[in-house]
């Protein structure tokens, strides 16, 4: 009877010990900065991703990339960052123990809506990718160029050429008569 609580506590202790690596600090952590952005269409922003090596060993050959997902209602989709002029993946050769590496991803905001951005790090020695927290990105719709600049030309020139064609036709008919 006395032994039962002892056995139970030993089992619970063993379970807790086996779970420590899962809940403990992982070898690499990533954070994204700024954590939220409000900007207008056409603005250029830069996200910085900080990769920290928490282990006592050098981390070699890791790949970091940024992802952007549209979370606007009805438009939920991952974005193709090539259109946003964002950098592609960054390959980090080595991060010394307990040191950090900062990668930068400048991008041009080409569409309005609500988005989330996050940085992911892939380490070939680890079978789980590590992602940062999500940074909220709110982009307001803006028309940067005044369409009135183009309207007089866009409408005026075909009309002017039409008048010229009518004039040529009229002169030809007159000369035939």
């Amino acid at each position: 009877m006395i032994r039962l609580p002892l056995v139970l506590s030993t089992i619970i202790l063993l379970i807790i010990v086996s779970c420590v690596p899962v809940f403990g600090i992982s070898r690499i952590t990533v954070s994204i900065n700024p954590t939220s952005i409000q900007a207008n269409m056409g603005d250029k922003i830069t996200y910085a991703g900080t990769i920290t090596n928490n282990s006592d060993n050098v981390v070699n050959n890791i790949i970091a990339y940024i992802s952007l997902a549209n979370v606007t209602q009805g438009k939920e989709a991952p974005m193709d960052l090539e259109d946003w002029s964002a950098n592609k993946a960054i390959k980090v050769d080595a991060i010394p123990p307990h040191r950090t590496y900062e990668g930068k991803w400048p991008m041009r905001l080409i569409d309005s809506g609500s988005y989330v951005a996050y940085v992911t790090v892939v380490d070939k020695n680890d079978n789980t990718p590590v992602s940062s927290a999500m940074s909220c990105l709110e982009i307001k719709r803006v028309l940067r160029l005044n369409p009135n600049n183009v309207l007089p030309v866009a409408l005026g020139e075909p009309i002017l050429l039409g008048i010229v064609i009518m004039f040529i036709g009229f002169r030809r008919r007159k000369s035939i008569k």
Binding site: I110, L143, L145, P147, N149, V153, E157, P158, L161, I165
Partner: protein
């Protein structure tokens, strides 16, 4: 003088007619739509102004080359099929002068397209980088390319003597010349793509536009590509001269 006379005849017959003028209205309408979209469409309006200017310049050059090829295909084969070549040969102008007169008319046609496109270039590139230098490059390279493709198409027309076949070959040449537009950036980066880019005068011209308007590079970067385009121009003029001189009634 005789060349001028042939040129005037061609302009009266092919350009200063209501049917000939429809080309220009179409050019203007397409440029209006493009410019309006570039400046007002929410996504396109965010393109770099240099990028917009570069795209419009490519379009104008392609249009000039295409119209030059069609003009060239019609020049001799069209006259033969319409039965008017004899009358042309009976004129005091020799065959080379006839060919040069027709080529000059094709260049006047390019000049009109360039003038039509000027307001659009100014509106789209206003306030952006390298606008005036870009327009100057378009004028020079467009003239060289239109001369090259029109002269080649005319020479072909004189040899083939069939309007339909000349036109088909002209369109094939246009598609081949326009290959940089159909190839992806990755394909153009391969050794095959790079060689094709280098030996294709149209690709050379659009790479010069890119280099000048977007990358703001000077003339020293363009000399090699300029030289290749000039070689093609001289070769096409020589081909036209030889082909026209061999033309018989």
């Amino acid at each position: 003088m005789k060349t001028t006379y042939i040129m005037q005849k061609e302009i009266k017959e092919s350009i200063l007619t209501p049917k000939g003028f429809i080309w220009y209205i179409l050019t203007s309408v397409i440029l209006s739509i493009l410019s309006y979209l570039f400046l007002t469409n929410s996504e396109l309006s965010l393109l770099d102004q240099g990028q917009m200017l570069y795209m419009i310049m490519n379009f104008i050059t392609a249009l000039g080359v295409l119209i030059g090829l069609v003009f060239g295909a019609d020049s001799f084969a069209g006259e033969i099929e319409r039965g008017t070549i004899e009358a042309l040969f009976l004129s005091p102008a020799d065959k080379t002068e006839i060919a040069m007169g027709k080529l000059a008319a094709a260049l006047i046609n390019w000049g009109i397209i360039f003038m039509i496109s000027l307001p659009y270039l100014l509106v789209v590139g206003k306030g952006g980088q390298n606008l005036l230098i870009g327009i100057a490059y378009l004028a020079i390279l467009g003239t060289l390319l239109v001369t090259t493709f029109s002269a080649f198409s005319m020479g072909l027309s004189a040899r083939i003597k069939s309007m339909k076949n000349s036109l088909i070959i002209a369109f094939f040449i246009f598609l081949l010349a326009g290959s940089p537009i159909f190839l992806s950036a990755a394909q153009r980066g391969t050794w095959f793509g790079r060689i094709l880019d280098l030996i294709n005068p149209f690709a050379d011209a659009i790479n010069i536009f890119d280099s000048v308007v977007i990358d703001s590079q000077g003339i020293s970067y363009q000399i090699g590509r300029f030289a290749i385009i000039c070689v093609y121009t001289f070769l096409s003029l020589w081909f036209l001269k030889v082909s026209a001189s061999r033309l018989e009634m």
